[in-house]
């Protein structure tokens, strides 16, 4: 299928990424080549085949509900670019 720069703009938006004009041209061409190659799957008739997300039949694996300590808040917040000691800090999200 044809990958257009409009489509690349759309998936950049979905991915929270920005591409410069030249990068975008390269990426559009590469994605078109890769997606064209993926179209080989259409040769295979998969009518009626259940999509497989996990190779083992592991469903509803339940365990006892036990109380266990979680990570220390201060240690986790120390990994963040900005925090106030209680929460992660981000720019104002609601005007």
């Amino acid at each position: 299928m044809k990958i257009t720069t409009e489509l690349v703009d759309h998936i950049c938006g979905l991915s929270c990424l920005e591409l410069q004009t030249e990068e975008k041209q390269d990426m559009t061409a590469q994605l078109e080549q890769i997606v064209a190659y993926m179209d080989v799957l259409n040769e295979l008739d998969t009518t009626g085949i259940e999509p497989m997300s996990h190779v083992f039949p592991l469903k509803n694996v339940l365990r006892e509900d036990e109380e266990l300590p979680s990570q220390d808040r201060a240690e986790l917040l120390a990994c963040a670019p900005a925090s106030d000691g209680e929460a992660f800090l981000v720019p104002k999200a609601v005007e």
């Binding site: 991915s15 929270c16 920005e18 990068e23 890769i34 998969t46 990994c79």
Partner: protein, 500 residues
């Protein structure tokens, strides 16, 4: 013979007998690293002081030396979290990230008395087949410094091959342990999905990722896997051991007996040769070397069965659709809020996310995120993502059918030996295609082993792949061990190499 020339198990035995101290072993490795790693670039972080401190404590506590790998220095791929030691995934976006916890495999290694020398270079977020997409620069192949070591666990393979540590722990999503092991002349293994906890492994494609060892021979691999494998409640896909969960009727593994199960006896073992894996696109020197494995095992009493594997051509597109889709979802967590780097200049929250990710990720990571967003997006989901999950079921069924006729499959690991640096970066699709023999193993959740089986006319190592049914690790390791009893390709690993 200095400690560098020993295998991990030989060094473990020498430590136990008091012939080598843990501190001496760590010092030997650190000297090899400082002599060679400026050239190889296998390590992102060398944790020399921590390693020496730990070596002293282990030497003092020798009475607890129950593991055959007690005191043996090793190193860890930089996408596996290590408490107090920077974990970058070779990405700018995680530079400076020091995890407040250890991955499950790091805990298990510590309990077995391992000493970590540091963190190994890799393709950024394990996305690549050459270790050239690292933001810390490419890794060099110790067999030929103009060539790539393979990827994504390229630092792991280069380090062990050059004698900068006795074994390494990497991750394999589509061949990232087996292919670099092949390019560097090592024995490496991607275990059955669910048998090694992924807790603390920075996720690339969660349904395919699995942690495993890169070693100098099959016996070392068995010993390391005995440490790594086991049930872990913190990984929801972790499979219970046979005795972990009374009343459980689902799949379960018999953990911890791989090393003790190595007999070298392969009488009656049925080796499947999928003829589709020996056709067009395979280097004739690689074909010849891989087929010698069948001959050697036959001389020890194994049988060889030819069979067809008609779905081989669908493996790469299926893999890249599923892996990219999962990557686009997994990597959405890198947004400059909770860990890693944040873009300095931004206007509001959405712009902070965008700028942080745009500045923090490299080109290959962006390509896979965009591809993943595309195959999951409205209007294309059914044609690509859902289709790939259906083909995955077809591939899994083809393996099930093959394993009714044989006990393991013998294939090449890669179509060629190690390519030159720079050759693959300009053509991403070409790089993806070189994963043709390895990716189907991850799609079906099977164990796969890579071992050296010869060298080409340039003197570069050639790897053979053994693929087994679920929980077939013991069969694969025993076949590899049998091959290594009769051949010396694994001993050609440049143990120690030449100081540069």
């Amino acid at each position: 013979m200095g400690p560098i020339e020993l295998t991990a198990l030989e060094l473990g035995a020498a430590i136990k007998k008091g012939e080598v101290s843990v501190v001496e072993a760590v010092q030997a490795a650190l000297e090899a690293i400082s002599a060679q790693d400026r050239t190889l670039n296998a390590f992102i972080t060398v944790a020399g002081e921590q390693a020496l401190d730990r070596a002293k404590r282990l030497q003092a506590g020798m009475k607890d030396a129950s593991s055959p790998l007690y005191g043996v220095p090793m190193a860890i791929k930089d996408n596996i979290c290590t408490m107090g030691v920077e974990t970058t995934c070779a990405s700018k976006i995680l530079s400076g990230f020091v995890p407040p916890y250890d991955a499950a495999v790091v805990e298990r290694l510590r309990d077995a008395g391992a000493v970590s020398l540091g963190k190994l270079n890799m393709d950024e977020f394990a996305m690549g087949s050459t270790s050239e997409t690292s933001s810390y620069g490419p890794v060099k192949n110790p067999w030929d410094l103009d060539r790539v070591p393979g990827g994504s666990s390229g630092g792991a393979a280069a380090a062990v091959a050059a004698g900068l540590g006795w074994y390494a722990v990497g991750s394999d999503t589509g061949g990232s342990i087996r292919q670099p092991a092949s390019y560097c002349g090592l024995t490496g293994m991607k275990p059955t999905y669910g048998t090694v906890s992924r807790y603390g492994l920075v996720a690339y494609a969660s349904s395919l990722d699995q942690i495993g060892p890169l070693c100098r021979d099959a016996a070392d691999c068995a010993a390391v896997l005995d440490v790594l494998q086991g049930h872990d409640r913190r990984d929801a896909t972790s499979l219970p051991g046979r005795h972990d969960r009374p009343g459980w009727t689902g799949p379960s593994a018999d953990y911890g007996h791989l090393l003790s199960g190595l007999t070298g006896d392969v009488r009656g073992l049925r080796i499947g040769l999928p003829v589709d894996c020996y056709g067009d696109g395979l280097d004739p020197e690689v074909r010849r070397a891989v087929l010698t494995v069948a001959e050697v095992l036959k001389s020890r009493g194994a049988e060889v069965v030819e069979l067809s594997f008609p779905v081989l051509g669908y493996a790469v597109p299926t893999y890249y659709i599923i892996a990219a889709a999962e990557a686009s979802s997994n990597l959405s967590r890198f947004d400059g809020v909770r860990y890693g780097r944040r873009a300095e200049h931004h206007e509001g929250l959405a712009d902070l996310y965008r700028k942080t990710r745009t500045q923090g990720f490299g080109a290959e990571v962006k390509r896979r995120i965009l591809l993943g967003s595309f195959v999951l997006s409205s209007g294309y989901y059914d044609a690509y993502y859902k289709k790939a999950l259906q083909v995955k079921a077809v591939i899994k069924a083809a393996f099930d059918e093959a394993f009714t006729r044989c006990d393991l499959l013998l294939t090449p690991v890669a179509p060629t030996t190690a390519p030159r640096l720079g050759e693959s970066l300009s053509d991403p699709l070409q790089m993806y295609l070189s994963d043709v023999y390895t990716v189907s193993v991850n799609l079906a959740g099977l164990p796969g082993l890579s071992m050296p089986c010869g060298s080409d006319s340039k003197g570069l190592p050639i790897g053979a792949q053994l693929i087994g049914p679920h929980f077939g690790e013991g069969v694969l390791l025993n076949a590899a061990h049998a091959f290594q009893l009769d051949t010396d390709h694994h001993e050609r690993v440049p143990k120690g190499g030449e100081p540069s």
